[in-house]
Structure formats: C-alpha cells, structure tokens
C-alpha cells in the first residue's frame, strides 16, 4: 500500500515534468506575447493611457478596418457559394474518379500560398493569359489593366481560401444520411424544397466551420494585398505590418492590433451565435 502511494507520488511528479515543456512553450510564445501586445497598447510615454486608442478614432482607421471586414465577409460568401454545389456533387453524386478529384482539390491547399499568388500573375498581367485571350477574340483592342484592383484581390483571395471552404463542407455533406433526402422526395417535396428544408439545415455545421476557416484568416491577410494590390489598398494586416516592420511604432501598432482584434472577435461571436441559432432551429424542427 505504502509502495503504491510512493509510486503514485513519483508518477505525479514525473507527469508534471513531462507536460512542462509544452505548457512552457505555449505560455512563453503564445500567452505572454499576446499579453504584451495588450499591455504595450496602453503604454504612453512610460505611463498608462488611452492615448493610442483615441488617436485611432479617426476616419482612415475606421475605413481600413471596415474594408478588411468587408473583404473577408465577401470572400467567405463567394467561397461558400462556389464551394457548396461542388462539395455537394463530389460528396453525393461522384463514385468514379472520386479519389483523383479529391486529390486534385487538396493539391492547391498544400501548395505554397506565394506560388498560388504568383500563378495569378500569368493570368492577369498586361501580357497575361486573360488579356491575350480577349485580344485574340477581338473583344478588346488594348490590354486591360487587371492588376492592382480590388476585384483582383478578391479573386486571388477566393482562390487561396476556396479549399478551406470545400473540405469541411465535403466531409459534412458526405456524412448526410441519404434516406432523409429520399424520404423528402417520397413525401412529395421537389428538389428546391428538399434542398432548403432538409439538406441546407443539416449542413449548417459544415458551413459554419468553412465560414470561420475563411473569414478569420482573410481578415488579417496581408500577403495578397501586398503583392496584388500594390500600395493602393490598405488592409488591417498591411497596417499592422507597417507599424511593426516599417515605422517600428510598437505601441501604436499594438493598439491598432488590439482594436482590430476586438472588432474581429465581436463579429465572430455574432456570426457564431447566428450559425448556432440556425443549427439549433434545424434540429428543433
């Protein structure tokens, strides 16, 4: 008995030492840095004040955050609208070639994001594929200026984030019980009614996962605007990197980071509440 107690004590000690590295790593490089960002945002001339936040209450900053939010929301919607039918078809109707089709869906997802962005230069540049085709077809006489526009940024963002939407939708729709759809048809519903009353309500959880996987990272995106939009459009991510890497104004940058973080969190909570309500309502019916 005594021995077991002793052994138990040892394993508790050992356990503590074994889990320490991961916990230490997490605290050192995740929790402390995030706390430091929040702390730095209140530091003003070696005192504590709201100064950095009050200087952010101006129209340009408001515009930048709204633009980032808008682009992230539009991006998530565009991805959803294009990914849903494709994911539905792949999950439910495809039998042959399924593995190859899935493999080719995953490939861009595993490809370096810079390679994906770079590939679009060949399509959109002055002498790129798009202009060449349009000229050959005689639709335009002079090359269009396709780079550096907000539409370009949106297209490339949708391109980079599409797999993040398709994969959760696919795994959700694949698990959907086909007997429910069959019984809906048997009970006389047409395909639209079946879709809106059976399929869509049952896929809310997949939509939610995909939506957040696209929305949250595209809010902070700064590589795509930096490479595709030149310096024409400022986004939240670009301004953060400008503060920290170009002008080295850590506390002002920290204040802006916190402010955009709070905005993002608020929107995410509202969206989460909305999706949960939808999912709950569909279960209640």
């Amino acid at each position: 008995m005594k021995q077991t107690d002793f052994k138990g004590a040892i394993t508790k000690e050992v356990s503590f030492f074994m889990i320490t590295p991961a916990l230490l790593w997490q605290v050192l490089f995740f929790y402390i840095p995030l706390t430091m960002i929040v702390g730095a945002s209140f530091m003003y001339q070696s005192g504590i004040s709201w100064q950095h936040y009050s200087s952010l209450l101006e129209l340009p900053y408001f515009k930048i955050i709204t633009r980032s939010l808008l682009f992230a929301l539009i991006n998530a919607f565009v991805c959803l609208i294009f990914a849903y039918p494709a994911a539905y078809f792949l999950a439910r109707n495809v039998k042959k070639w399924k593995n190859i089709l899935l493999f080719s869906l995953m490939l861009p997802f595993w490809t370096n994001i810079l390679v994906q962005i770079y590939a679009w230069f060949f399509v959109l540049e002055r002498n790129g594929l798009c202009n060449t085709l349009l000229m050959k077809l005689g639709l335009i006489s002079e090359p269009l200026h396709l780079m550096n526009s907000s539409l370009t940024i949106l297209i490339v963002m949708a391109y980079c984030y599409l797999p993040f939407m398709i994969l959760p939708l696919y795994s959700n729709l694949e698990k959907l019980d086909s007997r429910l759809i069959e019984s809906s048809y048997d009970l006389g519903a047409n395909s639209w009614q079946t879709f809106f009353n059976v399929t869509l309500p049952l896929s809310w959880s997949g939509i939610k996962t995909g939506f957040f996987l696209v929305f949250v990272p595209s809010f902070g995106e700064f590589v795509i605007p930096a490479l595709m939009g030149g310096s024409k459009y400022m986004f939240a991510g670009s301004l953060i990197s400008h503060y920290f890497l170009t002008v080295h104004d850590t506390s002002q940058g920290a204040a802006f980071t916190c402010l955009s973080g709070v905005v993002l969190l608020t929107i995410a909570i509202v969206l989460n509440w909305y999706f949960s309500k939808k999912a709950y309502a569909s279960r209640g019916q």
Binding site: W25, Q26, F82, A86, F89, W110, L114, V115, F122, N127
Partner: protein
C-alpha cells in the same frame, strides 16, 4: 433529379477545377519558356531550371526551410505527445484546451506578438526564433489531433500494460505510441508542410540573417518576377503533390487500422 441539377452540378465542379488549375498550368508551362520577359512565350527551354539549381541563395533558403520544418515537427510532436499522455489523469487534465487558441488567432497577431516578445528580451531574430514560432503553430495542430486519437484509444490497453508491471514510460513507448503512430505521422506531415509554406511568421520572426524559401519567393516577386521563380514554383508544386499522395494513402491506411 431535374434536368437543371443534372447539368448544374457537374458544370459547377468543372468551373471550379478550371478556376483552380488554369493559373497553375500556365505557371508550369511558362517555367519552360526561353524568354527573359516572363509573360511572353518564345520557345521551350530548361535554362531557368539550370539557373535554379546553380543558385546558392535558393539552396540556402531551402536548407533553412528544411531545418526549421524538421525541428518544429520534432519538437511539436514530442512535446505534444508528452502533454497528451502525461496530463491524462492529473490536475492538468484539461490543459490541452490551452492549445486551441493557436489556430483561432489570426497569424499576423501571433507574429506581431512574438516579434515584440523577442524584441523586449532582446533575443536576436534568426533560425531559433523561427523554430519557436513554427513549433507553436505545430502544437496548435498536434495537440488537438493527438488528443482526439488518444481519447478514442481503448483504456484497457493502457490499464493492462500498467497492471502487468510496465512503468508509465514503458506504456507510452510500447503501447500508446504504436497505436497512435498513424495519427502522429499524419500530424507530423501536416506540421512539416505548414512550416514549409508559412510566410507570415517567417516574415516577422526571421530577421535578415535567416531567409526561408517563402521569404525568398516573396522578395523575388516584389523585385519583379524572374522566370527562375516559375521554375522554383514548379519544383515546389511537384514536391507538394508527392506529399499529398503520401498523406492521402496514409489516411486510407489509418481508416483500415481503425476498423
């Protein structure tokens, strides 16, 4: 199924694949283009590939990327497994929840936080700081994946092992690790790819001394694209397709083991 849905869905899928693959195909084709001006086709050549393999800068960047990726895979898997296994029945049972934030926070916020952390303690930026950052991201993937697999494991295996006199360490090495190995391999591969592809953390935490492949590509594109970048991108595409093939064959095997 109506006529509409019969044609609508396949054409949607076709459009999607065209959208995903046209840029990539054009990129690969133009990497074989013998022309200084990247976007004008002249004739087939392998000169950019020769230039690619002759460039020391690219090899250095690749070496750095591989060092960072391998170390962060090793560190995050080791620490993640130890955490999941040893926190099982202790006071820290729920400590895995601490790791769920890593993926929910936008990467740029994480990068900026780490940058200020390193600056505050005047830690010089370089490969070490990069490994620290990538391991943190890696933990965000490894801990949830390994934890969910570990929960699914039948408790009787570990209990039997402990009853038969094995120490906790022996149980971990001889019972739990072999049972978890497919999940560990998949998680490791995922962390490897994510570390190789990561741009944001590397851009903020690398400093000027350690250049990784994505940072190199970024600066090349910014400086005005050179056809060497197309050749490099094609090579990287080939590498990722091999890794995806390994990953998907692994998932099939993993399912076989579970059944």
């Amino acid at each position: 199924m109506s006529i509409f849905s019969r044609y609508f869905f396949p054409s949607m899928v076709l459009c999607l694949y065209l959208f995903l693959y046209i840029p990539i195909i054009v990129l690969v084709l133009f990497s074989f283009n013998d022309n200084e001006f990247t976007y004008q086709w002249s004739s087939f050549s392998l000169r950019w590939y020769r230039e690619l393999f002759a460039s020391t800068e690219i090899w250095d960047a690749l070496k750095n990327s591989l060092i960072v990726a391998t170390s962060s895979v090793f560190l995050s898997i080791t620490m993640g497994v130890l955490l999941v296994f040893y926190s099982g029945n202790s006071f820290f049972k729920k400590s895995f929840l601490l790791f769920y934030g890593n993926l929910a926070v936008p990467e740029i916020v994480l990068a900026v936080g780490m940058l200020s952390f390193f600056a505050f303690f005047s830690i010089p930026l370089g490969l070490t700081t990069l490994i620290a950052g990538h391991t943190l991201i890696g933990l965000g993937y490894v801990v949830p994946i390994v934890h969910s697999r570990f929960i699914e494991l039948d408790d009787r295996y570990t209990e039997a092992s402990l009853d038969l006199g094995a120490t906790q360490g022996q149980t971990l090495m001889k019972v739990v690790l072999p049972l978890l190995s497919p999940a560990l391999f998949a998680a490791g591969l995922l962390v490897f790819i994510i570390s190789l592809d990561d741009f944001v953390i590397s851009f903020f935490c690398a400093g000027s001394s350690a250049q990784t492949l994505p940072i190199y590509i970024f600066s090349m594109i910014r400086a005005g694209a050179s056809p060497v970048v197309s050749a490099l991108s094609t090579v990287l595409l080939g590498m990722s397709s091999i890794l995806v093939l390994i990953f998907s064959s692994l998932q099939i095997k993993k399912m076989d083991i579970l059944r």
